[in-house]
Protein backbone atom coordinates (compact mmCIF):
# COMPACT_ATOMS: atom_id res chain seq x y z
CA UNK A 1 0.00 0.00 0.00
CA UNK A 2 2.59 2.54 1.16
CA UNK A 3 5.10 1.58 -1.53
CA UNK A 4 2.51 1.83 -4.26
CA UNK A 5 1.64 5.30 -2.97
CA UNK A 6 5.29 6.34 -3.09
CA UNK A 7 5.67 4.87 -6.56
CA UNK A 8 2.61 6.80 -7.69
CA UNK A 9 4.05 9.99 -6.20
CA UNK A 10 7.34 9.42 -8.01
CA UNK A 11 5.58 8.92 -11.30
CA UNK A 12 3.60 12.15 -10.81
CA UNK A 13 6.80 14.03 -10.00
CA UNK A 14 8.48 12.70 -13.13
CA UNK A 15 5.49 13.79 -15.20
CA UNK A 16 5.64 17.27 -13.67
CA UNK A 17 9.36 17.56 -14.41
CA UNK A 18 8.76 16.39 -17.96
CA UNK A 19 5.92 18.81 -18.58
CA UNK A 20 7.91 21.73 -17.14
CA UNK A 21 10.90 20.87 -19.32
CA UNK A 22 8.66 20.66 -22.40
CA UNK A 23 7.08 24.06 -21.69
CA UNK A 24 10.54 25.56 -21.11
CA UNK A 25 11.73 24.26 -24.48
CA UNK A 26 8.72 25.96 -26.12
CA UNK A 27 9.42 29.15 -24.16
CA UNK A 28 12.98 29.38 -25.48
CA UNK A 29 12.41 27.98 -28.98
CA UNK A 30 11.54 31.29 -30.70
CA UNK A 31 14.49 33.03 -29.03
CA UNK A 32 16.77 30.35 -30.48
CA UNK A 33 15.14 30.69 -33.90
CA UNK A 34 15.91 34.40 -33.84
CA UNK A 35 19.53 33.73 -32.91
CA UNK A 36 19.83 31.18 -35.75
CA UNK A 37 18.36 33.59 -38.28
CA UNK A 38 20.80 36.31 -37.27
CA UNK A 39 23.78 34.12 -38.23
CA UNK A 40 22.44 33.33 -41.68
CA UNK A 41 24.63 34.79 -44.42
CA UNK A 42 21.92 35.20 -47.02
CA UNK A 43 19.57 38.19 -47.07
CA UNK A 44 16.49 35.96 -46.82
CA UNK A 45 15.86 33.40 -44.13
CA UNK A 46 15.78 29.75 -45.08
CA UNK A 47 16.29 26.64 -42.99
CA UNK A 48 18.50 24.59 -42.78
CA UNK A 49 20.99 27.45 -42.95
CA UNK A 50 23.50 26.99 -45.80
CA UNK A 51 26.24 29.40 -44.78
CA UNK A 52 26.76 30.82 -41.33
CA UNK A 53 28.32 34.24 -40.92
CA UNK A 54 28.47 37.13 -38.50
CA UNK A 55 28.00 39.69 -41.29
CA UNK A 56 24.63 40.87 -40.02
CA UNK A 57 25.97 41.22 -36.48
CA UNK A 58 28.82 43.37 -37.81
CA UNK A 59 26.45 45.47 -39.88
CA UNK A 60 24.11 45.93 -36.91
CA UNK A 61 26.98 46.89 -34.62
CA UNK A 62 28.35 49.34 -37.19
CA UNK A 63 25.01 51.06 -37.87
CA UNK A 64 24.89 54.61 -36.58
CA UNK A 65 21.09 54.61 -36.49
CA UNK A 66 21.00 51.51 -34.30
CA UNK A 67 23.68 53.01 -32.03
CA UNK A 68 21.40 55.98 -31.40
CA UNK A 69 18.44 53.71 -30.69
CA UNK A 70 20.41 51.59 -28.23
CA UNK A 71 21.55 54.76 -26.45
CA UNK A 72 17.96 55.98 -26.19
CA UNK A 73 16.84 52.61 -24.82
CA UNK A 74 19.60 52.62 -22.19
CA UNK A 75 18.89 56.24 -21.26
CA UNK A 76 15.18 55.55 -20.75
CA UNK A 77 15.89 52.37 -18.78
CA UNK A 78 18.38 54.16 -16.49
CA UNK A 79 16.05 57.09 -15.79
CA UNK A 80 13.19 54.66 -15.14
CA UNK A 81 15.35 52.52 -12.83
CA UNK A 82 16.51 55.41 -10.64
CA UNK A 83 13.14 57.12 -10.36
CA UNK A 84 11.07 53.98 -9.93
CA UNK A 85 13.29 52.55 -7.21
CA UNK A 86 13.12 55.75 -5.15
CA UNK A 87 9.36 56.10 -5.57
CA UNK A 88 8.68 52.39 -5.10
CA UNK A 89 10.78 52.04 -1.94
CA UNK A 90 8.53 54.53 -0.18
CA UNK A 91 5.54 53.04 -1.95
CA UNK A 92 6.45 49.61 -0.58
CA UNK A 93 6.82 50.96 2.97
CA UNK A 94 3.33 52.40 2.65
CA UNK A 95 2.12 49.13 1.15
CA UNK A 96 3.49 46.72 3.74
CA UNK A 97 5.14 48.46 6.69
CA UNK A 98 2.80 51.08 8.10
CA UNK A 99 -0.80 50.72 9.17
CA UNK A 100 -2.61 53.79 8.00
CA UNK A 101 -6.13 54.68 7.03
CA UNK A 102 -6.50 54.19 3.31
CA UNK A 103 -3.88 51.45 3.06
CA UNK A 104 -6.33 48.81 1.82
CA UNK A 105 -7.56 51.14 -0.90
CA UNK A 106 -4.01 52.16 -1.77
CA UNK A 107 -2.98 48.48 -2.12
CA UNK A 108 -5.73 47.88 -4.64
CA UNK A 109 -5.27 51.12 -6.57
CA UNK A 110 -1.54 50.58 -7.00
CA UNK A 111 -1.98 47.29 -8.83
CA UNK A 112 -4.54 48.65 -11.28
CA UNK A 113 -1.91 49.81 -13.82
CA UNK A 114 -0.43 46.28 -13.86
CA UNK A 115 -3.89 44.92 -14.66
CA UNK A 116 -4.39 47.38 -17.48
CA UNK A 117 -3.70 46.49 -21.13
CA UNK A 118 -0.56 48.35 -22.10
CA UNK A 119 -1.56 49.28 -25.66
CA UNK A 120 -4.64 51.04 -24.28
CA UNK A 121 -2.59 52.69 -21.53
CA UNK A 122 -0.08 53.89 -24.12
CA UNK A 123 -2.81 55.39 -26.31
CA UNK A 124 -4.46 56.99 -23.27
CA UNK A 125 -1.16 58.59 -22.27
CA UNK A 126 -0.61 59.81 -25.83
CA UNK A 127 -4.03 61.40 -25.71
CA UNK A 128 -3.29 62.93 -22.32
CA UNK A 129 0.04 64.39 -23.49
CA UNK A 130 -1.70 65.76 -26.54
CA UNK A 131 -4.52 67.31 -24.49
CA UNK A 132 -2.07 69.31 -22.34
CA UNK A 133 0.21 70.07 -25.28
CA UNK A 134 3.30 68.02 -24.35
CA UNK A 135 5.47 66.96 -27.30
CA UNK A 136 6.14 63.22 -27.08
CA UNK A 137 9.80 62.15 -26.91
CA UNK A 138 11.99 59.73 -24.97
CA UNK A 139 11.06 61.63 -21.81
CA UNK A 140 7.34 60.98 -22.18
CA UNK A 141 8.17 57.34 -22.94
CA UNK A 142 10.15 57.14 -19.68
CA UNK A 143 7.16 58.61 -17.84
CA UNK A 144 4.85 56.06 -19.45
CA UNK A 145 7.21 53.25 -18.41
CA UNK A 146 7.14 54.59 -14.84
CA UNK A 147 3.36 54.36 -14.66
CA UNK A 148 3.57 50.63 -15.29
CA UNK A 149 6.94 49.78 -13.70
CA UNK A 150 6.58 51.62 -10.36
CA UNK A 151 3.67 49.37 -9.28
CA UNK A 152 5.62 46.25 -10.28
CA UNK A 153 8.73 47.37 -8.39
CA UNK A 154 6.59 48.37 -5.41
CA UNK A 155 5.26 44.83 -5.17
CA UNK A 156 8.76 43.36 -5.54
CA UNK A 157 10.10 45.52 -2.69
CA UNK A 158 6.92 45.06 -0.61
CA UNK A 159 7.61 41.31 -0.42
CA UNK A 160 10.93 42.20 1.26
CA UNK A 161 9.22 44.69 3.56
CA UNK A 162 6.83 42.01 4.82
CA UNK A 163 9.79 40.08 6.19
CA UNK A 164 11.15 43.11 8.00
CA UNK A 165 10.99 43.55 11.76
CA UNK A 166 10.02 47.14 12.71
CA UNK A 167 11.46 46.57 16.19
CA UNK A 168 14.94 46.95 14.68
CA UNK A 169 14.15 50.52 13.64
CA UNK A 170 12.73 51.22 17.09
CA UNK A 171 15.88 49.89 18.75
CA UNK A 172 18.03 52.22 16.65
CA UNK A 173 15.88 55.20 17.65
CA UNK A 174 16.15 54.21 21.30
CA UNK A 175 19.93 54.10 20.95
CA UNK A 176 19.81 57.71 19.83
CA UNK A 177 19.96 57.57 16.03
CA UNK A 178 18.44 60.38 14.00
CA UNK A 179 15.74 59.49 11.49
CA UNK A 180 18.13 59.86 8.53
CA UNK A 181 20.65 57.62 10.29
CA UNK A 182 17.99 55.00 10.94
CA UNK A 183 16.88 55.07 7.33
CA UNK A 184 20.45 54.82 6.03
CA UNK A 185 21.86 52.39 8.59
CA UNK A 186 18.89 50.15 9.36
CA UNK A 187 15.97 50.40 6.93
CA UNK A 188 17.93 50.55 3.66
CA UNK A 189 20.36 47.69 4.41
CA UNK A 190 17.49 45.46 5.53
CA UNK A 191 15.49 46.20 2.41
CA UNK A 192 18.49 46.07 0.12
CA UNK A 193 17.87 42.62 -1.43
CA UNK A 194 14.35 43.69 -2.42
CA UNK A 195 15.54 47.04 -3.71
CA UNK A 196 18.24 45.34 -5.77
CA UNK A 197 15.74 42.95 -7.40
CA UNK A 198 13.45 45.94 -7.93
CA UNK A 199 16.23 47.76 -9.77
CA UNK A 200 16.88 44.77 -12.03
CA UNK A 201 13.17 44.43 -12.76
CA UNK A 202 12.83 48.15 -13.49
CA UNK A 203 15.76 48.25 -15.91
CA UNK A 204 14.87 45.05 -17.75
CA UNK A 205 11.14 45.75 -18.01
CA UNK A 206 11.84 49.19 -19.43
CA UNK A 207 14.51 47.78 -21.77
CA UNK A 208 12.06 45.26 -23.23
CA UNK A 209 8.88 47.34 -23.20
CA UNK A 210 7.19 47.62 -26.55
CA UNK A 211 3.54 48.77 -26.34
CA UNK A 212 4.15 51.85 -24.20
CA UNK A 213 7.19 52.99 -26.20
CA UNK A 214 5.31 52.50 -29.46
CA UNK A 215 2.76 55.20 -28.67
CA UNK A 216 4.56 57.54 -26.30
CA UNK A 217 8.13 57.87 -27.64
CA UNK A 218 7.18 60.25 -30.45
CA UNK A 219 10.02 60.70 -32.94
CA UNK A 220 12.49 58.88 -30.69
CA UNK A 221 12.80 55.14 -31.03
CA UNK A 222 13.70 52.34 -28.62
CA UNK A 223 14.99 48.91 -29.60
CA UNK A 224 11.59 47.13 -29.48
CA UNK A 225 9.90 49.97 -31.34
CA UNK A 226 12.54 50.02 -34.09
CA UNK A 227 12.35 46.22 -34.43
CA UNK A 228 8.60 46.37 -34.83
CA UNK A 229 8.84 49.02 -37.54
CA UNK A 230 11.26 46.80 -39.47
CA UNK A 231 9.14 43.67 -38.94
CA UNK A 232 6.17 45.41 -40.51
CA UNK A 233 8.16 47.05 -43.30
CA UNK A 234 9.92 43.88 -44.46
CA UNK A 235 12.48 41.37 -43.31
CA UNK A 236 16.14 42.18 -42.82
CA UNK A 237 18.48 39.89 -40.85
CA UNK A 238 19.32 42.93 -38.74
CA UNK A 239 15.98 42.37 -36.95
CA UNK A 240 16.90 38.99 -35.44
CA UNK A 241 20.49 40.21 -34.94
CA UNK A 242 19.47 43.23 -32.86
CA UNK A 243 16.76 41.20 -31.12
CA UNK A 244 19.31 38.58 -30.11
CA UNK A 245 21.74 41.26 -28.94
CA UNK A 246 19.03 42.82 -26.77
CA UNK A 247 18.22 39.39 -25.34
CA UNK A 248 21.87 38.67 -24.60
CA UNK A 249 22.22 42.08 -22.95
CA UNK A 250 19.25 41.30 -20.70
CA UNK A 251 20.65 37.85 -19.87
CA UNK A 252 24.07 39.25 -18.95
CA UNK A 253 22.48 41.92 -16.77
CA UNK A 254 20.21 39.42 -15.03
CA UNK A 255 23.06 36.96 -14.42
CA UNK A 256 25.43 39.70 -13.26
CA UNK A 257 22.77 41.29 -11.10
CA UNK A 258 21.80 37.97 -9.57
CA UNK A 259 25.43 37.15 -8.84
CA UNK A 260 26.07 40.52 -7.16
CA UNK A 261 22.94 40.05 -5.06
CA UNK A 262 24.04 36.57 -4.04
CA UNK A 263 27.57 37.67 -3.14
CA UNK A 264 26.29 40.62 -1.14
CA UNK A 265 23.95 38.36 0.80
CA UNK A 266 26.72 35.87 1.52
CA UNK A 267 29.18 38.53 2.64
CA UNK A 268 26.85 40.07 5.15
CA UNK A 269 27.03 38.48 8.61
CA UNK A 270 23.81 36.73 9.45
Amino acid sequence: MATSLIRKQKRTNALIWGWTAFVLVIVYLPILCGALASFNKSRYFGFPIKTFSTDWWDKTLASFEIGMIVKTSILIALVVTVLSVVIATFGALAFARYDWTGRRLYQKLIILPIFFPQPVLGLALLLGFNAVGIQTSWMTAAFAHLVWIVPVVTLVIAIQVYGFDPALEEAAYDLGCSRIQVFREVTLPLLWPGIWSGMLFAFLLSWSNFPLSLYTAGADSTIPKWLYAKMVAGYTPMVPALGTMATLGAAVLLLGGGLVGLLARRRRPA
Partner: protein, 309 residues
Protein backbone atom coordinates in the same frame (compact mmCIF):
# COMPACT_ATOMS: atom_id res chain seq x y z
CA UNK B 1 13.53 61.02 2.72
CA UNK B 2 13.78 63.10 5.86
CA UNK B 3 10.03 62.82 6.19
CA UNK B 4 10.35 59.58 8.06
CA UNK B 5 9.92 61.38 11.36
CA UNK B 6 10.71 59.31 14.37
CA UNK B 7 7.99 60.77 16.52
CA UNK B 8 5.39 59.83 13.97
CA UNK B 9 6.37 56.30 13.16
CA UNK B 10 3.71 53.87 14.23
CA UNK B 11 5.18 50.46 13.71
CA UNK B 12 2.79 47.57 13.98
CA UNK B 13 4.54 46.29 17.09
CA UNK B 14 3.82 49.48 18.99
CA UNK B 15 0.47 50.25 17.48
CA UNK B 16 -1.36 50.26 20.80
CA UNK B 17 1.19 52.37 22.66
CA UNK B 18 -0.51 55.50 23.97
CA UNK B 19 0.18 58.50 21.77
CA UNK B 20 2.16 61.25 23.43
CA UNK B 21 2.03 64.97 22.87
CA UNK B 22 3.66 64.52 19.49
CA UNK B 23 0.92 62.23 18.33
CA UNK B 24 -1.72 64.79 19.21
CA UNK B 25 0.21 67.61 17.61
CA UNK B 26 0.75 65.75 14.35
CA UNK B 27 -2.67 64.19 14.18
CA UNK B 28 -3.84 66.70 11.62
CA UNK B 29 -0.88 66.10 9.30
CA UNK B 30 -0.62 63.07 7.03
CA UNK B 31 0.40 59.80 8.67
CA UNK B 32 3.84 58.36 7.80
CA UNK B 33 2.26 55.69 5.68
CA UNK B 34 0.27 58.20 3.70
CA UNK B 35 3.36 60.34 3.15
CA UNK B 36 5.31 57.32 1.90
CA UNK B 37 2.45 56.62 -0.48
CA UNK B 38 2.41 60.20 -1.74
CA UNK B 39 5.01 59.94 -4.57
CA UNK B 40 3.28 56.85 -5.96
CA UNK B 41 -0.09 58.53 -5.65
CA UNK B 42 1.11 61.61 -7.52
CA UNK B 43 2.66 59.48 -10.28
CA UNK B 44 -0.42 57.35 -10.77
CA UNK B 45 -2.69 60.38 -10.51
CA UNK B 46 -0.83 62.09 -13.34
CA UNK B 47 0.10 59.05 -15.37
CA UNK B 48 -2.89 56.77 -14.92
CA UNK B 49 -5.98 58.63 -13.75
CA UNK B 50 -5.41 61.79 -15.78
CA UNK B 51 -5.07 59.95 -19.12
CA UNK B 52 -8.24 58.00 -18.33
CA UNK B 53 -10.01 61.29 -17.67
CA UNK B 54 -8.60 62.62 -20.96
CA UNK B 55 -9.98 59.57 -22.79
CA UNK B 56 -13.33 60.08 -21.15
CA UNK B 57 -13.35 63.75 -22.15
CA UNK B 58 -12.36 62.96 -25.73
CA UNK B 59 -15.09 60.35 -26.01
CA UNK B 60 -17.68 63.10 -25.66
CA UNK B 61 -16.08 65.37 -28.27
CA UNK B 62 -17.46 65.94 -31.77
CA UNK B 63 -16.52 62.99 -34.04
CA UNK B 64 -13.39 63.44 -36.14
CA UNK B 65 -12.41 66.59 -34.25
CA UNK B 66 -9.82 67.46 -31.64
CA UNK B 67 -11.91 69.97 -29.67
CA UNK B 68 -11.79 68.24 -26.33
CA UNK B 69 -13.61 69.95 -23.40
CA UNK B 70 -15.35 72.29 -25.84
CA UNK B 71 -18.12 70.13 -27.15
CA UNK B 72 -20.37 67.47 -25.66
CA UNK B 73 -22.03 64.80 -27.72
CA UNK B 74 -22.95 61.16 -27.34
CA UNK B 75 -22.54 60.63 -31.09
CA UNK B 76 -19.41 58.48 -30.66
CA UNK B 77 -21.14 56.04 -28.35
CA UNK B 78 -24.14 56.02 -30.65
CA UNK B 79 -21.83 55.04 -33.53
CA UNK B 80 -20.31 52.24 -31.45
CA UNK B 81 -23.61 50.75 -30.38
CA UNK B 82 -25.20 51.18 -33.80
CA UNK B 83 -26.16 47.63 -34.91
CA UNK B 84 -24.66 48.26 -38.37
CA UNK B 85 -21.24 48.88 -36.82
CA UNK B 86 -19.14 45.73 -36.85
CA UNK B 87 -16.81 46.72 -34.02
CA UNK B 88 -18.57 44.18 -31.80
CA UNK B 89 -16.98 41.45 -33.92
CA UNK B 90 -13.54 42.58 -32.74
CA UNK B 91 -14.81 42.66 -29.19
CA UNK B 92 -16.16 39.12 -29.44
CA UNK B 93 -12.86 37.91 -30.95
CA UNK B 94 -10.88 39.55 -28.15
CA UNK B 95 -13.15 38.09 -25.46
CA UNK B 96 -12.98 34.67 -27.09
CA UNK B 97 -9.19 34.76 -27.30
CA UNK B 98 -9.03 35.92 -23.68
CA UNK B 99 -11.36 33.19 -22.42
CA UNK B 100 -9.49 30.43 -24.24
CA UNK B 101 -6.17 31.86 -23.07
CA UNK B 102 -7.32 31.80 -19.44
CA UNK B 103 -8.78 28.30 -19.61
CA UNK B 104 -5.82 26.73 -21.43
CA UNK B 105 -3.18 28.55 -19.39
CA UNK B 106 -4.81 27.42 -16.14
CA UNK B 107 -4.32 23.83 -17.27
CA UNK B 108 -0.82 24.43 -18.67
CA UNK B 109 0.49 26.37 -15.68
CA UNK B 110 -1.04 24.37 -12.82
CA UNK B 111 1.38 21.41 -12.92
CA UNK B 112 4.33 23.79 -13.16
CA UNK B 113 3.09 25.90 -10.24
CA UNK B 114 2.57 22.71 -8.26
CA UNK B 115 6.07 21.58 -9.16
CA UNK B 116 7.60 24.89 -8.10
CA UNK B 117 6.02 24.50 -4.67
CA UNK B 118 6.22 20.79 -4.00
CA UNK B 119 8.53 18.95 -6.39
CA UNK B 120 11.46 21.03 -7.60
CA UNK B 121 12.94 21.67 -4.15
CA UNK B 122 16.25 23.48 -4.40
CA UNK B 123 15.89 23.85 -8.18
CA UNK B 124 12.67 25.85 -7.78
CA UNK B 125 14.50 29.20 -7.77
CA UNK B 126 16.37 28.36 -10.96
CA UNK B 127 13.24 27.13 -12.73
CA UNK B 128 11.42 30.34 -11.74
CA UNK B 129 14.23 32.45 -13.18
CA UNK B 130 13.98 30.51 -16.44
CA UNK B 131 10.28 31.38 -16.61
CA UNK B 132 10.84 35.03 -15.62
CA UNK B 133 13.60 35.76 -18.11
CA UNK B 134 11.42 35.87 -21.27
CA UNK B 135 9.56 38.80 -19.69
CA UNK B 136 12.76 40.78 -20.21
CA UNK B 137 12.77 40.04 -23.92
CA UNK B 138 10.41 42.26 -25.82
CA UNK B 139 7.27 40.34 -26.85
CA UNK B 140 7.62 41.30 -30.49
CA UNK B 141 11.09 39.73 -30.62
CA UNK B 142 9.74 36.48 -29.18
CA UNK B 143 6.68 36.45 -31.41
CA UNK B 144 8.86 37.14 -34.43
CA UNK B 145 10.89 34.09 -33.46
CA UNK B 146 7.69 32.08 -33.91
CA UNK B 147 7.21 33.60 -37.35
CA UNK B 148 10.71 32.38 -38.27
CA UNK B 149 9.79 28.98 -36.85
CA UNK B 150 6.49 28.52 -38.68
CA UNK B 151 7.09 30.45 -41.92
CA UNK B 152 7.50 28.68 -45.27
CA UNK B 153 11.11 27.47 -45.47
CA UNK B 154 11.39 28.39 -41.80
CA UNK B 155 12.77 26.21 -39.03
CA UNK B 156 9.85 23.74 -38.86
CA UNK B 157 9.11 23.59 -42.58
CA UNK B 158 12.80 23.41 -43.50
CA UNK B 159 13.54 20.65 -41.00
CA UNK B 160 10.61 18.53 -42.16
CA UNK B 161 11.59 18.96 -45.82
CA UNK B 162 15.20 18.13 -44.98
CA UNK B 163 13.94 14.90 -43.43
CA UNK B 164 12.15 14.15 -46.67
CA UNK B 165 8.67 14.89 -45.35
CA UNK B 166 6.15 17.06 -47.21
CA UNK B 167 6.83 20.15 -45.08
CA UNK B 168 5.17 21.96 -42.22
CA UNK B 169 1.51 22.97 -41.97
CA UNK B 170 0.55 26.50 -42.92
CA UNK B 171 -0.49 27.85 -39.55
CA UNK B 172 0.73 31.44 -39.77
CA UNK B 173 -1.78 34.25 -40.22
CA UNK B 174 -4.72 32.35 -38.74
CA UNK B 175 -6.73 33.00 -35.56
CA UNK B 176 -5.36 29.76 -34.10
CA UNK B 177 -1.78 30.98 -34.15
CA UNK B 178 -2.92 34.25 -32.56
CA UNK B 179 -4.31 32.25 -29.66
CA UNK B 180 -1.05 30.30 -29.48
CA UNK B 181 0.86 33.60 -29.34
CA UNK B 182 -1.29 34.78 -26.45
CA UNK B 183 -0.77 31.52 -24.54
CA UNK B 184 2.94 31.94 -25.12
CA UNK B 185 3.15 35.59 -24.07
CA UNK B 186 0.95 35.42 -20.97
CA UNK B 187 2.13 32.14 -19.43
CA UNK B 188 4.24 33.88 -16.71
CA UNK B 189 1.28 36.04 -15.70
CA UNK B 190 -0.72 32.91 -14.92
CA UNK B 191 2.17 30.90 -13.52
CA UNK B 192 3.48 33.26 -10.84
CA UNK B 193 0.22 34.25 -9.11
CA UNK B 194 -0.74 30.58 -9.22
CA UNK B 195 2.56 29.63 -7.58
CA UNK B 196 2.00 32.25 -4.86
CA UNK B 197 -1.50 30.86 -4.38
CA UNK B 198 -0.34 27.26 -4.05
CA UNK B 199 2.30 28.39 -1.55
CA UNK B 200 -0.63 29.31 0.71
CA UNK B 201 -1.66 25.66 1.01
CA UNK B 202 -0.21 24.28 4.27
CA UNK B 203 1.56 20.99 3.59
CA UNK B 204 0.56 19.57 6.99
CA UNK B 205 -3.05 19.85 5.97
CA UNK B 206 -2.46 17.85 2.81
CA UNK B 207 -0.44 15.26 4.76
CA UNK B 208 -3.13 15.03 7.44
CA UNK B 209 -5.82 14.46 4.82
CA UNK B 210 -3.69 11.76 3.18
CA UNK B 211 -3.11 10.03 6.52
CA UNK B 212 -6.83 10.02 7.10
CA UNK B 213 -7.24 8.18 3.84
CA UNK B 214 -8.29 10.92 1.41
CA UNK B 215 -7.65 10.20 -2.27
CA UNK B 216 -5.57 12.49 -4.42
CA UNK B 217 -8.51 13.85 -6.34
CA UNK B 218 -10.34 14.52 -3.08
CA UNK B 219 -7.34 16.36 -1.61
CA UNK B 220 -7.01 18.42 -4.75
CA UNK B 221 -10.69 19.36 -4.87
CA UNK B 222 -11.30 19.93 -1.17
CA UNK B 223 -7.98 21.34 0.06
CA UNK B 224 -5.53 22.47 -2.62
CA UNK B 225 -7.92 24.17 -4.98
CA UNK B 226 -9.95 26.22 -2.45
CA UNK B 227 -6.87 27.34 -0.50
CA UNK B 228 -4.90 28.28 -3.62
CA UNK B 229 -7.92 30.04 -5.14
CA UNK B 230 -6.85 33.65 -4.42
CA UNK B 231 -3.67 33.17 -6.44
CA UNK B 232 -5.40 31.26 -9.20
CA UNK B 233 -8.05 33.99 -9.44
CA UNK B 234 -5.42 36.74 -9.69
CA UNK B 235 -3.63 34.80 -12.40
CA UNK B 236 -6.83 34.28 -14.35
CA UNK B 237 -7.85 37.90 -14.00
CA UNK B 238 -4.42 39.13 -15.05
CA UNK B 239 -4.21 36.92 -18.12
CA UNK B 240 -7.80 37.67 -19.12
CA UNK B 241 -7.30 41.42 -18.92
CA UNK B 242 -3.93 41.37 -20.69
CA UNK B 243 -5.27 39.10 -23.42
CA UNK B 244 -8.29 41.37 -24.01
CA UNK B 245 -5.92 44.28 -24.59
CA UNK B 246 -3.35 42.34 -26.61
CA UNK B 247 -2.50 43.47 -30.14
CA UNK B 248 1.02 42.27 -30.93
CA UNK B 249 0.01 38.60 -31.28
CA UNK B 250 -2.78 39.31 -33.75
CA UNK B 251 -0.57 41.67 -35.76
CA UNK B 252 2.68 39.73 -35.90
CA UNK B 253 1.53 36.11 -35.86
CA UNK B 254 -2.08 36.54 -36.94
CA UNK B 255 -1.11 38.80 -39.82
CA UNK B 256 -4.26 40.83 -39.16
CA UNK B 257 -6.46 37.91 -40.24
CA UNK B 258 -8.51 38.94 -37.24
CA UNK B 259 -8.79 42.50 -35.94
CA UNK B 260 -8.79 42.54 -32.13
CA UNK B 261 -10.36 45.29 -30.08
CA UNK B 262 -7.17 47.18 -29.17
CA UNK B 263 -6.23 47.15 -32.83
CA UNK B 264 -9.59 48.78 -33.61
CA UNK B 265 -8.84 51.46 -31.04
CA UNK B 266 -5.42 51.99 -32.58
CA UNK B 267 -6.87 52.22 -36.10
CA UNK B 268 -9.27 54.93 -34.93
CA UNK B 269 -6.35 56.86 -33.46
CA UNK B 270 -3.96 56.46 -36.39
CA UNK B 271 -5.33 55.73 -39.89
CA UNK B 272 -8.82 57.13 -39.55
CA UNK B 273 -7.75 60.05 -37.31
CA UNK B 274 -10.98 59.79 -35.35
CA UNK B 275 -9.76 60.29 -31.79
CA UNK B 276 -13.19 60.77 -30.24
CA UNK B 277 -14.43 57.46 -31.64
CA UNK B 278 -11.26 55.67 -30.56
CA UNK B 279 -11.64 57.19 -27.10
CA UNK B 280 -15.25 56.07 -26.84
CA UNK B 281 -14.18 52.53 -27.71
CA UNK B 282 -11.34 52.71 -25.17
CA UNK B 283 -13.80 53.94 -22.53
CA UNK B 284 -16.09 50.98 -23.16
CA UNK B 285 -13.20 48.51 -22.96
CA UNK B 286 -11.77 50.21 -19.86
CA UNK B 287 -15.14 50.17 -18.12
CA UNK B 288 -15.53 46.47 -18.89
CA UNK B 289 -12.06 45.65 -17.56
CA UNK B 290 -12.40 48.02 -14.61
CA UNK B 291 -15.63 46.46 -13.33
CA UNK B 292 -14.12 42.99 -13.65
CA UNK B 293 -10.91 43.91 -11.80
CA UNK B 294 -12.60 45.81 -9.00
CA UNK B 295 -15.08 42.98 -8.47
CA UNK B 296 -12.36 40.31 -8.18
CA UNK B 297 -9.95 42.47 -6.16
CA UNK B 298 -12.66 43.41 -3.67
CA UNK B 299 -12.83 39.72 -2.74
CA UNK B 300 -9.09 39.24 -2.17
CA UNK B 301 -6.76 39.96 0.72
CA UNK B 302 -3.41 41.15 -0.65
CA UNK B 303 -1.62 41.09 2.73
CA UNK B 304 -2.20 37.37 2.96
CA UNK B 305 -1.16 36.80 -0.64
CA UNK B 306 2.16 38.60 -0.42
CA UNK B 307 3.44 37.50 2.93
CA UNK B 308 1.88 39.05 5.98
CA UNK B 309 0.18 36.09 7.61
Amino acid sequence: MADLAHTETQPRALAHAPEGMDGVRHARRLSVGARCALPVAVLLGLGFLAPLVAILAYSFATPRSFDVFRSFTLANFATLFDPSNTVWVSFVWSCGFALFTVALLAVIAYPIAYGLNMVFGRYAGFVSVLFVFPLFVSENVRLYGWVLFFIKNGVLDGTLKWLGLPGGPEVLYTPGITLFGMLYTYLPFMLFPMTLGLALVPRDLVDAARDLGAGRLFIWREIELPLAMPGILIGMLLTFVLAIGATAEAKILGGQSVIVISHDIEIAFTYSQNWPLGSALAVVVTAFIGVLILYVLSRLDLDRMLGRR
